[in-house]
Amino acid sequence: MKVDQLSIFLENRAGRLAEVTRLLSEAKVNIRALSLADTSDFGILRLIVSDFDKAREVLKQNGFTVGRTSVVAVEVDDTPGGLHRILEMLRDSKVNVEYMYAFVQQSGSNAIIIFRFDRTDQAIEILHQNKIPIVPGEKLYNL
């Protein structure tokens, strides 16, 4: 149920982001979703890609620090209150959202949101109990 997210350490210098996209493009890896967190000195680029292992390999070979993080892709009703309902049930169980970002494509009529939880397994259980659809990695990479 978990999705592999690639996290990349980037110095805050011109051209570093473009270097990542160049390498991925040359390796024919498709970026499915991304989010960039930044401070004044450095940033962390988070990516969901079509081929995790290939992307990690090519980035590592070119000297980037990369990490693997387990995230959860949740289908959210594309209606008012859709996201709120999910956050509420997590709050009630004291699961903390470290960060989240939206996936580019929809799954049917639902939006897809990528979540990084502090307690991933527990979060998945709660979502299951509440019958909230979760998109498995294999499906997500190839959407």
Binding site: F9, D41, F42, T65
Partner: protein, 435 residues
């Protein structure tokens, strides 16, 4: 093993008697043969016969690197050119090169002392030494080479550079020991890793590292990461080259100085006054046996302290502490004395940071700014901003707490700090260029 048991374990009294005998002969020799010293003695009204005890060494003049430069290239030699069998020279990046010469006996002594060092590091004739010190004018390569041969070990004269090939040879030949600068060894291990060669799986068991300052925390890091015992060796070309002092594998607690050949003192670098044992100051060396270029009270600029107590390895030679810095490397940041090694220790004690760092000093509005750039360690990389920021502020806080200066800590991408094939460049001081 102790290579020269009779000498290396001499009771202090006998050692001092030997030193005094050699000192007297040395003083007579330089007065006779080196115009620079003769002139200096005459100006002071000093006669070689005035040196009657070891303490009288204080009467002798200091020799500095500048004196060697002023007599470039051969002006300080005490023997005629036909007796010189080898020349070495420093790189001369910060001024004129310093040139040193060796007689046949000097070379023999050097090989023997270096052999003693390798023996103290636990090497025997069974060992295979990967010698990655540069061969050439630099004393490192040939110095270690002759020492290994003296000991009967198998030496692989790989010299510097060609790192991928070095990693391959390390694996294929199965070297049990390596000699190089500590920063190069780390670089080599990284490159090997990329090639799928794990240092820990190699037969390599000991590293003899020198030619640049490093810290105890860096030692710990290297020992656990590379699976070897890391020992510190000391030397400088003006005095001889590598082999002046070495840490023994048994105690790993201070570097034994080859006192039968070198008379050492610790002085206050500002006043030139001698300091008592245990106090940190500048190391001053008098070469007792050198023939080609004997030096009186050479100011090494290296800061250390001496421990005259015999070691549990059996050696009686005094031990110098790992070099704490150089009196000319010292950074003065807003009036506070800072040595790169102090910052290195703090970085290495912080989990998640690599030993690759650089200090950038700039001046803005007449105020010094210190920026510490450190590479993020792959193994502890976190995708959460707050964890990385916590690392930055932890280092910043420790620098403030232990050194009393405010530094800006900046995490940088791995390999963005230039790797050295030789000595690591730790400091970029831009204050003079800006002024």
């Amino acid at each position: 093993m102790i290579l020269d048991v009779d000498l290396e374990t001499l009771p202090r009294e006998d050692l001092e008697a030997l030193q005094l005998r050699r000192l007297k002969a040395l003083v007579a020799r330089v007065y006779e043969n080196v115009p620079f010293y003769r002139k200096n003695f005459d100006e002071k009204g000093l006669k070689p016969e005035d040196i009657q005890t070891l303490a009288d060494v204080k009467l002798l003049p200091f020799t500095t690197k500048q004196d060697l430069r002023d007599h470039y290239p051969f002006g300080m030699f005490a023997v005629s050119r036909e007796n010189i069998v080898r020349i070495h020279s420093s790189s001369g990046t910060t001024g004129k090169a310093t040139v040193v010469g060796y007689t046949r006996r000097d070379i023999r002594n050097w090989g023997r002392l270096m052999g003693r060092c390798l023996a103290a590091a636990g090497l025997t004739s069974q060992d295979l030494l990967h010698n990655a010190y540069g061969y050439g004018l630099f004393t490192g390569g040939l110095g270690a080479h002759y020492g290994a041969e003296e000991l009967g070990a198998t030496v692989i004269p790989v010299s510097g550079g060609g790192t991928r090939r070095q990693a391959m040879l390390l694996r294929d030949f199965g070297a049990t020991a390596i000699c190089c600068t500590p920063s190069y060894c780390l670089h080599l291990a990284e490159v090997a890793q990329e090639m799928g060669i794990d240092f820990k799986s190699l037969p390599l068991r000991v590293g003899v590292f020198g030619a640049e300052p490093w810290s105890d925390s860096m030692r710990k890091e290297m020992e656990s990461k590379l699976g070897i015992m890391a020992l510190d060796i000391y030397g400088l070309s003006e005095i001889m080259g590598p082999g002046v002092a070495i840490e023994c594998a048994k105690a790993q607690n201070g570097l034994h100085i080859m006192e039968d050949h070198f008379l050492v003192e610790i002085i206050d670098p500002q006043t030139g006054e001698n300091l008592p044992a245990g106090e940190i100051g500048e190391l001053v060396i008098t070469t007792l046996t050198k023939e080609a270029i004997p030096l009186l009270r050479y100011r090494t600029r290296d800061l250390t302290s001496l421990n005259p107590a015999p070691c549990r390895c059996g050696r009686t030679f005094a031990r110098m502490k790992r070099v704490q810095g150089r009196s000319d490397d010292m950074l003065i940041i807003r009036g506070v004395n800072v040595f790169p090694q102090q910052i290195e220790s703090i970085i290495l004690e912080t989990e998640g940071l690599s030993p690759h760092y650089q200090l950038i000093v700039t001046r803005e509005n007449n105020l010094d700014n210190l920026e510490v750039q450190v590479e993020v360690d792959e193994s502890l990389f976190s995708d959460a901003i707050k964890n990385l920021q916590r690392l930055e502020s932890k280092v910043q806080k420790n620098i403030k707490e232990f050194l009393g200066v405010t530094a800006r800590v900046k995490l940088v991408e791995p390999r963005s700090i230039q790797r050295s094939e030789g000595k690591a460049k730790r400091i970029v001081d831009m204050r003079n260029q800006q002024a």
